[in-house]
Symmetry: C2
Subunit: 545 residues, 2 copies
């Protein structure tokens, strides 16, 4: 104890001890502790997560919050390094969420291959900043190469095209971002600037702003169109970009949760004839909606965009990596018509949180968002920060580059195919159980369903509107309760959402949502999850008065 106190004082008292903390563990005991945990994490990741993470009983948010209320920063170190790390693993991690569990099928965050943690460690150690060449060098070059590799699986252009652009310092095939939200924002920022490009007497929307742009183009409103299942980041982008989020126009989907092309065409015509003079900045197609995993008819949307001279953006944050599967690539047919495409790295590329990407068909498209400064990002250099929403950025492209080499496109294809095919089996299982109702069958690897006990199912048949509403309200309550109780019991997690106007359900209904991306999640586990839901439902139904 005395020793520890001395060390603590020494740590802040002089440069020498600070240097020690900066450079290596303070003593052998500290080193041993770190070695122990690092070995567990790096070479037994999944066991480590199962034994350390999310293993506590459900603690209410209120109880948890009570533990983290101290807002003072201690002047002296609170604890020795080894103690801080031990606390982190033994006291904090148990209250995190084991998203790597094969029973955790509620969100798009899942298990990652163990080597991804090694790669992230290397990236952190190198600590490069790809905002400019002088702080990243080869990593900027590699980012351009990886962007070209993924661009190629989207657009499938000729060798010549890629040879010309892969390392071209004047052009950009895309950009790494931190997530899909920032990728979508980047794409729509580019689309907005292209729509309100400089022309005589006007220097462009980015320079002059939206008000001047509307004046110059003689309009009063601009809009972006997307299906009602579009991700909320699109609405957010509308707000940020000064278009107004109410001008992100939702189009009703058809019975398969895809944008209804007839509705889309009608909306375009309606906007054309609007007394408020309006320009359409972009139409967004979704390749894997967040809620249902469905893919819009990309080719049809793309053709409408070409015909009407509208920017076509595809939000493939979820579905993009399906392009690596020969077997299922056709599900994204038409994506090559997109002017821009969003793909997330931390979703189906199985990269650690967080990484996104945005791609552009035209290698000069990003010229409309060039920003530079004297001390960084000199024009005409390869500095990646010249055309990028973000400033400083870590070299995440190295992780994707290495993963593609380690697994090959074939390895990724296996992961993708496992998800799609397991989801199909799961849908069959749901259909085979009388007390469940499949709501949206999986097109990729996401499906929604609900608990709908056979007696209520019967009552629904032939009920009038009022009756149906009452039954659905009761079903909503049941599904909300079962989902919550299952989450709280700590073994399994499915998420829930509310879907509008689907099939025979013209009103909003609460559904359970499963995302099958963990290769360890198989049909047996999914059956267990349904079994548990049945049990939970039975147990509280029994208690009903």
């Amino acid at each position: 104890m005395k020793d520890q106190n001395i060390s603590r004082k020494a740590l802040v008292a002089n440069r020498q001890s600070l240097m020690r903390t900066f450079i290596r563990p303070e003593n052998t005991a500290a080193r041993d502790t770190l070695v122990k945990y690092m070995e567990q994490i790096l070479f037994g990741l999944h066991d480590f997560l199962n034994t350390h993470v999310g293993i506590t009983e459900e603690l209410s948010l209120k109880e948890l919050s009570e533990r983290y209320k101290n807002t003072l920063i201690s002047e002296n170190p609170e604890k020795m390094l080894a103690d801080v790390i031990t606390d982190l693993i033994e006291e904090i991690a148990p209250h995190a969420v084991n998203v790597a569990s094969p029973f955790f099928v509620g969100h798009m965050t899942s298990a990652i291959p163990f080597f991804m943690v090694h790669l992230k460690t290397i990236v952190a150690a190198l600590n490069q900043n790809v905002v400019k060449l002088e702080t990243s060098k080869v990593l900027s070059v590699i980012e351009k190469q990886v962007l070209a590799k993924i661009h190629r699986i989207i657009y499938r252009k000729e060798d010549n095209f890629y040879n010309e652009h892969v390392q071209n310092i004047q052009t950009s095939l895309g950009c790494f971002t931190e997530n899909g939200t920032l990728a979508n924002l980047t794409a729509l920022w580019v689309a907005r600037n292209s729509r309100f490009a400089p022309k005589e007497g006007f220097e462009g929307a980015d320079k002059e702003g939206i008000y001047a742009a509307y004046k110059a183009y003689g309009i009063e409103r601009s809009v972006i169109i997307v299906s009602q299942l579009g991700h909320f980041s699109l609405k957010k982008a509308g707000g940020i970009l000064g278009i107004g989020n109410r001008n992100i126009i939702p189009i009703e989907t058809d019975r398969t949760c895809r944008i209804d092309i007839k509705n889309l065409k009608e909306k375009i015509n309606e906007l054309r004839k609007s007394p408020v003079r309006t320009k359409i900045i972009a139409i967004v197609g979704i390749a894997g909606t967040t809620e249902t995993g469905t893919v819009d008819p990309l080719r049809q949307i793309g053709e409408i965009c070409v015909e009407n001279g509208i920017h076509f953006h595809v939000d493939a944050a979820w579905g993009g990596p399906v392009l690596l599967s020969d077997k299922y690539r056709h599900l994204l047919d038409g994506i090559d018509l997109a002017d821009s495409v969003t793909i997330d790295g931390h979703k189906q590329f199985y990269m650690p949180m967080s990484s996104g990407m945005v791609y552009f068909k035209d290698p000069c498209k990003m010229d409309s968002i060039i920003y530079h400064a004297n001390y960084v990002n000199r024009l005409g250099s390869v500095d990646l920060g010249i055309k990028s929403l973000s400033g400083s950025r870590e070299a995440n492209s190295l992780i994707l580059d290495s993963a593609l080499k380690i697994m090959g496109s074939g390895g990724y294809a296996l992961l993708i195919e496992h998800g799609i095919e397991t989801a199909k089996s799961f849908a069959e299982e749901i259909n085979s159980r009388p007390d469940f109702e499949l709501i949206t069958p999986p097109e990729l690897n996401i499906l929604t369903y609900r608990i709908c006990p056979i007696e209520l199912k019967r009552e629904l048949t032939g009920s009038n509107d009022t009756q149906r509403n009452a039954i659905n309200e009761r079903l909503n309550e049941i599904n909300i309760t079962v989902q919550r109780l299952q989450r709280e019991s700590g073994k399994s997690f499915v998420s829930r959402t509310t879907l509008k106007t689907y099939k025979e359900h013209p009103e909003s209904i609460v559904v359970l949502r499963c995302v099958i991306m963990n290769p360890l999640t198989d049909i047996h586990i999914l059956r267990d999850i349904l079994d548990e839901q049945e049990e939970i439902y039975s147990s509280f139904e029994v208690r009903r008065p």
Copy 2:
């Protein structure tokens, strides 16, 4: 060789082998390779970087690019895992930049304490997504706590205030972002929405857009004011937010590189009287400019903002952590007047690339950027993604939280003080050398200077405008050349930039820029850097015809 081929095929051919790659190294040899590198990185970080990174002779960008031109993704794994990692360490890292070298003083990217890499590894392993509680749980709670801790060193409010807000699910003291650019964008997005808040007949700028906002508020233009030394992310934010980047109004600085308050007041008056009806969205004060490290007179700007009802944003991306030093906190006097503050994590908090933060004095200020969705971020929950520019985000707050515990504010203070005091000694050294000219003395830990041989210094004295321009052009050439040759020789790196209208230099001049943040950088190293510059200059001066 045969074995390897079999393994490769097996890897993509079946689920079993994929699972192996997913879960652990493919064989003992692979494990041994990974163990070797991970041990070097995690327990000998600085030695590892010195022996592996940036150790090659300068390779031209052209040569480097030639090596990374293949744009095809192999279907089968290109190499075994261990080979990919070996290539990464032995072939790629040598061409990265050793930003951790104490001789690398050109940019704001530097050495980080070795334990930061451990923390990043743990964060990657946990793979939490703080966009919502269901994928992060305790990490969302910790983020709120860390935000309150840093808020407290900025605003120094009472215990009651922090007790009320630290874990309040309705209010937000700030948000982690990925970098200062996104933090500045978030702050100005909030400022814009507050300036064009909902009122009768108008639902706010975020919902209705900039054009409707200007109509509702009876204006034609809105602006943001900042000194001419403002970071280029502010201009970018102006473009993105639909204000127009030409409406980011630069104010000339005084002779100490701080915003000139007289100029600022005049500009406000001028804008008030402008025939184009204009609103000022925000005034930005800089706490540590990127080029010179100087701090604007924050209190004076803050008082002007209060008086005029204007949002006061402080860009303390660089200087924020100076608040942890009792000795130098006074340099940021007045920062508590700021409505919002940007601080970077990967700069003077010594976190790995990349992390930023934005803080708000008013815990309800971020309400103007609320976005939510049914499947994620339910209103009234603690889901951090409700008020955030980004969507998915890694749990970087855990790194800062742990680092504060490991080093204490006192440890950070030592780092900050070392930088400021070493920069002061360096300035004295430059002043003492006849062939150098100190251009901007360090206020924090950044300074600029140039090579200015004694004979040219004499010529400058008493020269007329034309003569001065000619001499300065020659000096610019000299400094550009020396900086480049020094970088290419591979030992030391200072950056260069162009400064306008500084002191007796009314024209733009090229300066060398040093950022002293690496605790291993001391005055001896800085003298070596000057010696090398003198040598380089002498050697090419000798060769001049």
